[in-house]
Structure formats: C-alpha cells, structure tokens
C-alpha cells in the first residue's frame, strides 16, 4: 500500500457484500438485545431483506401490504408509542410515493423512525425507470430534521446500523440491490455527519457516496499514474453534510469532483456546492445522472450508459483541473 493510500483500490476479485443483506442481518442482531425495535415493510420483505427479522421476530414485524403511505404513517404511530421502528420498501416508494407522509408524519414531529430504502439508484437494473430511484437524496435532504445516509459498502452499513439504532429522530438510509465491493476493514468507524478521507491527495478532491466511492478509488489510482494526486472522500452522510471537511478539501486541493448514483440536481453534488459557494468557491464537476430517467438493462451496462464509472470520474477530474 502506497503512502497516499488509506483504502486500497477495489479489484474484481474482491469480496462483494450487499448493503441490503447487511441491513437484514443487522436488524436481527440488534433486535436480539433491543425489544423496542419493530420493522415494517410494504410487501417487499424478500427484497429489502427485512424477511430475516420477520422470521425471527414475527410479533414485531408488520407487513403493511402494498400501501406505502400507510406504511410511513403507521411507523410514526409506533414511534409515538415508544417503539424504534425501521421501515423498508424500495427507495422509489419510500421516498417518492410516501414523500408527504415522510415530511408530515415523521420529520415535522421529529419522530424516531428509520426509513431504510433498498433498490436506490440506476443499478436496480432490469426493472427500468419506474423502479430506479435517482432523486431520493434531493427529496429527503430538503426536509427539515431528516438525516440522509448512504453506505459505501456492507461493512459501513453494519456500522451505520449500530449507530442509528441509538439515535433519536428520523433517518433516510439508502441501500442497493447490487452488491458493493468491500472497502472498509471492520471497525473503520462511521460517524453521522462526518465524511472520511479514504485516499490522500493534493491536486483535487473526489467526494463520492455509495457505490461511487469504489469507482472514485479506482479513478484516483489511474489518475496517480498520470501524475495527478486525487484525494477521495467518502461522504456517507449527505445530510447533515460535513461542511468543515468540504471547506478543508476545497482550500487544500482547489478543485472538487462529486460522484453519486443520483441526479446531478439536488443530491450530493448540489450539497457540496452549497457549502463551497458560501465558504470557499472552487471549480466543481458533478458525476451523476444528468436529469434523465433510467431504463432497463444490466447494472454494469447502465452504470456505463449513464456515466457512472471510474472513467467518467477521471474525465471530470481532468476537466476540473483545467478550471483551477
């Protein structure tokens, strides 16, 4: 491992772990010691992975049927009764279909509900645009009191679960259908609201979230060979965003590329620009979905089609450096 490497560059042979699979396992593990945990799903327990909890703790599991508005409202009520509800559906339904319920019933009264939405992003794949949620970071982070978290790998998801179970108030956490390369060693340390430098660098900073963190690490390795030193930050908390770290990266490296499996409107890139505009304006390029709906296809093909691979980050990095 070179001196600039905090995390190694992911390779094909690396183990992959599903963030949703970890979610399902962690619910069971946490619930063994926490009788206040209840879980609600809307007929997708086999996909969101709440099925493990449902089997282990049937009296604390509520399948609400295909009714996401009622799903969120019922979770609010369970929180009012002192429970610690985890609520799951696909991201499109949890954050889209039930947006107003999330706003009114969860966030406005700041109730203790964790919305853990699976199948976020374009890597949903074959189901196509109707099921590919590319706007959830924007929809969720605009709501007061909401905190928005996206794991970069399964190990981080484990730590996110251990953390949020003890936190009061509403959260939106996005998991994915696709398995992600394992990046972090156990105990890497997740903190709400804290980004983490996962590769040191001086010429620019790539701020990434979710699946794009591993793409950013790959991009950084390629850029290094071209003589460009690209810092990589895993910004797993999109809200509250780590303003201090963004400002520090802007000052120290003078250019930023953001990378997210989400629309370039309103997501991580926007959140980063909100900070740089106020604290330290530097050139920024956003890698993300360019104001488009998705389509059917294999995950890897779609990530290529929509410009969400390391090559796209490399291109953006080279462009942004010209603006420095």
């Amino acid at each position: 491992m070179g001196s600039s490497e905090v995390l190694k560059t992911p390779a094909e042979k690396d183990a992959a772990l599903g963030t949703r699979d970890v979610y399902g396992e962690m619910l069971v593990e946490l619930a063994r010691h926490r009788s206040d945990i209840v879980v609600l799903d809307a007929d997708l327990s086999g996909s969101t992975m709440t099925k493990f909890f449902a089997k282990e703790f049937p009296e604390r599991f509520f399948n609400m049927g295909i009714a996401e508005q009622d799903l969120i409202g019922t979770a609010a009520g369970l929180a009012l009764a002192g429970k610690n509800p985890f609520v799951s559906s696909f991201a499109i339904f949890a954050s889209g279909r039930a947006w107003e319920q999330v706003r009114q019933a969860l966030a406005y009264p700041a109730l203790n509900v964790k919305v853990v939405a699976s199948h976020g992003g374009i890597c949903v794949g074959e189901d196509g645009a109707s099921h590919q949620m590319l706007e959830d970071f924007a929809l969720m982070r605009v709501i007061p009191n909401m905190r928005v978290i996206v794991p970069a790998d399964g190990v981080e998801m484990r730590e996110i679960m251990r953390t949020v179970v003890n936190e009061e108030g509403p959260f939106y956490i996005r998991t994915s259908r696709m398995k992600f390369p394992v990046l972090f060693p156990d105990g890497a340390g997740f903190k709400i609201g804290k980004g983490k430098v996962v590769r040191r660098g001086a010429d620019l900073t790539i701020i990434a979230v979710g699946l794009m963190v591993s793409e950013a690490l790959k991009a950084s390795a390629v850029l290094a060979k071209k003589g460009i030193s690209a810092r990589v930050v895993n910004m797993s908390t999109i809200k509250p965003i780590d303003e201090r770290l963004i400002e520090k990266c802007a000052r120290q490296t003078g250019a930023i590329v953001t990378a997210e499996e989400h629309s370039v409107i309103g997501g991580l890139g926007s959140a980063v620009c909100e900070v740089t505009a106020a604290r330290c304006p530097v050139p920024v390029r956003m890698v993300g979905i360019k104001d488009l709906f998705g389509m059917s296809g294999k995950s890897e093909e779609l990530l290529a089609c929509y410009g969400l691979q390391s090559a796209d980050i490399i291109k953006a990095a080279q462009e942004v450096l010209k603006k420095k």
Binding site: V38, E59, R60, F62, M64, G65, A67, Q69, D70, I72, G73, T74, A75, A76, G77, L78, A79, L80, A81, G82, K83, P85, E100, Q101, Q104, A105, Y108, P109, A110
Partner: protein
C-alpha cells in the same frame, strides 16, 4: 379528572364554542365550521371518556387522541385548555408567530397534543401505529381518532382501514365527523363518500351511527368499545353532525369551512350561545 354528566358536558361544549369563536376571531383566520361540528365529540372525549391526566401529558397509560382532521385544532385547543393542559389565556395566541397553538396541531409545541396533523388522511395510520405499539406493551389504553367525512376521500384512509381490520386493532375507536360539507361545497357533490357505514363494515369494522351533537348518544358510543380486547375488530362511530353547529348563521354553510368570524359575527354568535 372527574367525568362530567351529560348536563355538565353541554355547558362545557358551550364554553368551548365560545372560546373557539373568540380565538378564531382574534386570529382572523382558521376553520370555524369544522371546529364547531367536532366540538361536542371532543368535549365528550376530554371531559368524560378519555383516561388522561393534564398534569402528566406523557403518562404512558393514558388513552390517546389523534385529531386527523387537524383543521379543527381550535376545538382541540379549547378542550386542552379547559382540561388544564395550559393556560386558557394562551388561546388568544392562536396562529400568531411564536405561539404554542399552530394553525394545525403540532405535538412538539402544544402541551397535551398526542400527534401532529393537518395534512388530511394521515391520522388513522398514526393511530393504528400507536395501537400496535401499545399492544406490544400489553397496554389497555384506547386510541381515539377523529376523521372528517371529506377526509374519507383520501386514499390513505382506506389503506389504514384495511390495516386496523387486518391486525385486529380492537383499541382503535374512530369517529367520522359527518357534517356533509367540505371547502368546495357538499361532500356528495365534490366527491361522494356514501354509504359511509357500509364501506367501513365492508372493511371489517364494527360500525355504529349516532347524532354527533347528542351527548346521550355520543358518550355511550365512545365508551362501549372500551371493553373490547386489544385483538378485536376496530370500532367506527359515524357521527351525523352539523357544520358550524351552535350558531344559526354558520350552520350548514360550506363558506365558513375556512373563514373566521368577523367581530360583528362574533358578537351575534356569542349572543346566540348565551354569552
């Protein structure tokens, strides 16, 4: 609190109506018609039926009340004030900047409010969740929820209707304040909801119909389901009410849905209410 007799409830609801009209007039905005149609039901709940303690609003064993038709907030606020949750003088701050009494209920601001509401269609889901949580803790508390008849047009109500029946939430006691009017006019002309009773029966609920202004019917209807086991069918009380009830020139007038009484109207209304 000592449960009130039917005569005492009549006097309490008269006082509530007076306070509702005064606070709406002072705020110069708010929902007159639906607050008055719900006033008797809410009076019966807070002064006769609910197990609650104004000195301890978070008492775990208390019954809960979710005002799903949140625009009737003035009726809830007067009941809470007259019960002693907060000072009656606070009612004068309704809808003003910094007030504990928001235009629609905010449980984080108003002492004694069990849930925030205001966006129609959501209260029954919230009540169901409370009942599920209480049942997990073996509580025998009841969960009351008041819904408007126009509100029955919201799809989420019917999702929640299925949930309460599916999970056999015997501690759910819902009331429809069926005043027949909504902002744009008569419910039957805007988007018909009848037959209300048959719909709820078909969804698996025990349904009773009452006159929502007759305490000799309201009180028994609210009390009868209390002895049900927590795993019984949910209860629905369809209360026939009059929008603007108690003030002749507000009664059955859709235009007073979201309009506060002017000072002249207030004076005439208070006279009718014997103030």
């Amino acid at each position: 609190m000592k449960p009130q007799s039917t005569d005492e409830l009549r006097e309490t609801s008269r006082q509530m109506r007076i306070e509702i009209l005064k606070m709406l007039n002072r705020a110069a905005s708010g929902h007159t018609g639906g607050s008055l149609s719900a006033a008797d039901i809410i009076a019966a709940l807070y002064f006769r039926v609910l197990r609650h303690d104004p000195k301890d609003p978070s008492w775990p064993a208390r019954d809960r009340f979710v005002l799903s038709k949140g625009h009737a907030a003035p009726a809830l606020y007067t009941a809470l004030a007259l019960s002693g949750y907060f000072d009656r003088a606070d009612l004068a701050t309704l809808r003003q900047v910094g007030s504990t009494l928001q235009g629609h209920p905010d449980m984080r601001k108003t002492r004694g409010a069990d849930a925030s509401s205001g966006s129609l269609g959501q209260g029954l889901s919230i009540a169901n969740g409370i009942a599920m949580g209480l049942r997990l803790d073996n509580s025998d508390a009841n969960v009351y929820v008041l819904i408007g008849d126009g509100e029955l047009q919201e799809g989420q109500i019917w999702e929640a209707a299925m949930t309460a029946a599916h999970y056999r939430l015997g501690k759910i006691i819902a009331i429809v304040d069926k005043n027949g009017l909504q902002i744009d006019g008569e419910v039957k002309n805007v988007m018909g909801v009848e037959p209300v009773d048959e719909k709820w029966r078909a969804f698996g609920w025990d349904v009773t119909e009452i006159d929502g202004h007759d305490f000799s019917q309201i009180v028994p209807a609210l009390e009868a389901p209390r002895s049900k086991p927590a795993t019984d069918r949910p209860s629905m009380i369809v209360a026939r009410t009059v929008k603007g009830k108690g003030v002749s020139f507000f009664e059955n007038q859709a235009k007073y849905h979201g309009v506060a009484p002017s000072s002249d109207e207030l004076a005439r209304a208070l006279k009718e209410l014997g103030e």
